[in-house]
Symmetry: D2
């Protein structure tokens, strides 16, 4: 990022920027019935209780509407700090059982996550250190690989950034066998505890990936242990974003962007479906 | 908006702007069980199937999660073009019954709504033409009042803008009697058919308000006729955003801003809950 | 009930009985979107994700299906013993917080309620001691009134019976104002703590009523205190059945019957929607 | 069934029968999160929005409650006649698309299914004609096998009966791999079109089985064609009951019983979860 300009940006200047033709990359996956998701969370389902033609008003108008049922950790989503505890504690030492008393996480629920309008960095790991199509199933991305990617791209990770780590696994999201993307038997690539510490040491605000689990799942291990979740959510107060679509932004070679994410303020919930954006200059 | 600068904005310049201290106004309402909403749509509900302490892993970790059921026209939300038909047609003459065949609106569903990063204009009508606290129940905002507000504020509405119309009704969202904000008996203020035509003539991209219904509901009329929905959604292809929280952005006197809205791509649905942002310069 | 016959009943004799023209009274209310229910529980909602014509197979067949979301204490339903605790204990001294650990009541959940094929007794209180149309709002049915009804009808309440107490309030279920049946402002008639003790002293197996709350709600008191629930569910292990339709069985003058209730075995839940039957001889 | 006795059965005689120690076999499967079900229907999910300890009233009382989301063709359930159409028609020639207009099947919805208190017959096919543990995957039960079973058991199928056909597949319901019971790859045993005509010719009221699909699914065929559903639901007006637990009643050798089934009157729905009972003499 260039040095901060001495004079504050005006709204007019901001809108000038928009008018010059910014490109907005959509990082969210469509939510469809039957899409791959973790079986630990309520399945996404949608139906139309009313369709057009069901009840037409005298003036010729009609309205169709929807019913949705879902977990909050399905589709592209963000984990609030309330999602994970370790040794009975949430981030900041909050008692995890007490925090959920009443059925709502008043502290650390997703309604406490401020909308993000921040510098975003894509670390396209396979493009820098492997087969650009994607890392192998179960591969743990090391701090060295993160640093090598940072260098190869020329995009330094800074405090306050949102860092999105591409493994290439996202290309499997639309596989006809919806369990492939889950990677239950194969494992999935991603960072581990060491990679999480590397991110925490940089002081990032949030971190995301193109997998359901965000972090490396060794083959056959399931979700038995999630050390990167512990380091980021519990120890560091860093949000995690999962099931991102990073293929388009990677194909465009956009490694630095304005990252915008506005989680639904679902009071007391542990996460929210989101549709984050990566905005780049013309 | 100032004339478009000849040279394109770079990502670096955009991030410079962010770094100077932009202010982000949150225009979304928290989603809480029991919040006011239209009784025509499935009620918002949230529960925690798992809480911390329910199942602690051997390594000391545990995860809590959620289940959500809801309509898509509850809380702060956007109407897709599929939501309303007139004389059997959606926008562009699409057959409304056929469009919903299969239980998904492949055409005009909310997954077809592109994320918005656009100029936004707040028309603070009561501040310009009435009691700043809010317009009376059932008051229809006329084109003259819209134009007077535009002039008083010095914020011209232009093609492609997102226009947010404050009536002041949003102050009633937290009334202990959750039916007050619905305004079933009293009616609610808002534009009518004429106001909708004024917006359509300006070529706006989307329009929003701080009420559930967006448009004027005369006292006791219920949702029997919704001419502004017809003009905007069916005749003009203009999206509608409802149940916005405009009190903060109005109190800040922010009448022009970068408007960001990223609807969930709920495949085939007629709307989506959203948390829009108004970003202003320092 | 007549003295137990010395010889056991054979299945053939049972089926003979059926063949002679038993009359089955349906004691369940239809579940419809918008029906009156307690606002403390998730609203009943139904939609058709698929309708006929959405996807016709090559052989000309098609299937329509449903999605349901609901609380378990809506419509005609039974309370499992897990539903209510007092001073931290469920029936039998079970620790109420521990019992719900894991998000399922393994003990005292509704899956532990055995199907009922038992003697049932209707106590038609208003027919015996008041205006047959129904008791006044907020009227507490006393033990004396229960005993007077028992005597007037000639139907002795015995150990193991299911006792259904008609207040007449059920006639308001279909009131166009769906809050009337809830009786939030008016209160609703029903037994109180003393009536519950009378039932417990008789050793009944379950007790039901034609109101949402089962017990008397004094005008304006809401659900602040529910002593009959405590006496029956927590102290006595007696199930409670609510929102029954007792108008038909009362109109038929059927005060003694074979009562059949088969709760859904919703594992770990605190209640279940049910459709109980009262079977009487020809 | 023995000849109908000339004198009508009295309620007292019916209760005498109950008092002699009838045995009630529970034919319903517990509903648990993650149980095997058809992936075509919304997944069963349950959570506790409130647990004990969340909000204790001043008098020491507290209430826990539930939220349920589900399809109606999951767990043990009954198909209403609205569930299946052929060549655009429901049973009786009803226009299938029109019948679903409004999002509710006013005609042939499950709320129109009267509670059943009828003679029930178990046809334990594998016990009569194969390996008593169960028929092979994908085996089509022929009319000859049905007749042979009827004869071997000495239980004639009569008009108005509810006939439950055991294939033995139910033993796989609790297999740790929840897809085994679905039988997607293996196929499942059951009757085919010919068996359905045999049942229709006998004039049965309803027919059930211990599989999700009720009828034979040849290996690898999926649900592509369901001729028995067509013959029973569309051509004959005979209800279908699926995912029954017939292991207990079969082990007890109970081939004739009083069958009781009381579907939830879910207005306009195509099916309902049920917990049917088989009541036999002492």
């Amino acid at each position: 990022m260039a040095p901060i300009s001495p004079a504050a940006t005006t709204t007019a200047a901001l809108l000038d920027a928009v008018a010059t033709g910014l490109v907005t990359h959509d990082l969210g996956r469509p939510l469809t019935v039957g899409m791959p998701q973790s079986p630990n969370h309520p399945q996404y389902w949608h139906a139309l209780p009313r369709r057009h033609g069901d009840a037409v008003r005298a003036d010729g108008g009609s309205a169709a509407n929807d019913i949705i049922t879902m977990g909050t950790h399905v589709g592209t989503h963000i984990d609030a700090l309330a999602h994970v505890s370790h040794d009975g504690r949430l981030f900041g030492g909050v008692d995890a059982v007490e925090a959920g008393r009443g059925g709502k996480f008043v502290d650390h629920g997703v309604h406490t996550v401020a909308p993000m309008v921040r510098r975003g960095v894509l670390l396209d790991v396979p493009a820098a250190v492997g087969d650009p199509a994607g890392l192998p199933a179960g591969h743990e991305i090391t701090p060295d690989e993160l640093a090598a990617t940072e260098q190869a791209q020329g995009t330094e990770v800074r405090a306050g950034d949102v860092v999105l780590i591409r493994s290439g696994w996202g290309r499997l999201f639309d596989d006809p066998d919806r369990t492939v993307y889950q990677g239950k038997d194969t494992g999935v690539p991603g960072i581990g505890e060491a990679g999480a510490r590397w991110l925490a040491d940089r002081g990032v605000h949030a971190a995301g990936a193109d997998t359901i689990a965000f972090e490396c799942l060794p083959p056959g291990a399931g979700h038995a242990v999630l050390p990167a979740h512990r380091v980021l959510l519990v120890e560091s107060g860093i949000y995690i974003i999962e099931t991102l679509n990073l293929e388009g932004v990677a194909a465009a070679g956009a490694h630095e962007f304005l990252f915008v994410l506005s989680p639904l303020p679902l009071f007391g919930a542990t996460g929210s479906p989101v549709r984050p954006l990566a905005v780049v200059g013309a």
